[in-house]
């Protein structure tokens, strides 16, 4: 059970947008990590994925996803054939203007020597029938302590202005 929740770092995307958001030199002094992300991308559509890579790993990622779209439910899973693997959800370019998706990514035991798991939940905000709610399970088989985390849009190229990400460290004692 978490007993402390400390902000490590935060970032807000500027007017030019950004293709990736990375946290580097993450200290190993916490038990778990938690990312809170408010994101919108330039992807066509109401929603987009948040992709994540740990320590710049280029493979060994896999995921399971449950998704509700407002009219149907679906599930998917797979291995990351590319650098990143989905871990949560963001708004896309055609979601209601000035809205942002909400996402939380929790990474337990990030400084340990076992494979790294993460859970993600996220919703796309949209003032219409169609919207997305997702739950994700994420695994990276790397055994090194996590010192860097990188986020990128799934379908889009850029996060748009005012996308924010906050990294928290959690101690269990």
């Amino acid at each position: 059970m978490a007993t402390t929740f400390t902000k490590i770092a935060s970032v807000s995307v500027g007017v030019l947008g950004s293709s990736t958001i990375s946290f580097t030199s993450i200290p190993s002094t916490y038990t778990d990590l938690c990312l809170k992300v408010s994101a919108r991308t330039d992807a066509a559509g109401i929603g987009d994925y948040l992709y994540m890579s740990l320590n710049g790993n280029t493979s060994n990622n896999s995921y399971k996803q449950l998704q509700g779209s407002g009219s149907a439910a679906s599930s998917s899973g797979g291995s990351g054939a590319t650098n990143n693997t989905g871990v949560s959800t963001a708004d896309g370019a055609t979601a209601t203007a000035s809205t942002f998706g909400n996402a939380e990514i929790y990474i337990p035991n990030y400084a340990g020597s076992n494979a790294k798991s993460a859970s993600g939940d996220g919703v796309s905000e949209n003032n219409a029938t169609a919207a997305r709610a997702d739950l994700w399970a994420y695994l990276n088989s790397g055994t090194s302590a996590i010192t860097s985390i990188s986020l990128a849009p799934g379908n889009g190229i850029n996060f748009v202005q005012y996308t924010t990400a906050v990294l928290y460290g959690i101690k269990n004692s």
């Binding site: 950004s18 293709s19 990736t20 990375s22 998704q67 679906s74 998917s76 849009p153 379908n155 190229i157």
Partner: protein
């Protein structure tokens, strides 16, 4: 076209660096985007296929979706 950028936050120093993506990173981003688009298209197709199959089954059974919910409750 504007070169995509990356934002890096150094958690030890608090320094925030905004830099252009390297050619390798741009290639990776494009590959990721293509893979994500494929995955989303597959999910959408599966959801549409399931919806059609559900409607066909309800028609075959001669019941409504609400009646099917009652049966399964």
């Amino acid at each position: 076209m504007t070169t995509p950028t990356a934002i890096e936050v150094n958690c030890a120093t608090g320094e925030v660096i905004e830099r252009p993506l390297t050619a390798e990173e741009i290639t990776q981003r494009e590959a990721d985007a293509a893979a994500a688009a494929t995955a989303q298209a597959e999910e959408d197709a599966k959801a549409a296929q399931d919806a059609v199959a559900k409607d066909a089954l309800l028609t075959k059974l001669g019941i409504t979706a609400d009646e099917a919910k009652l049966l399964l409750a």
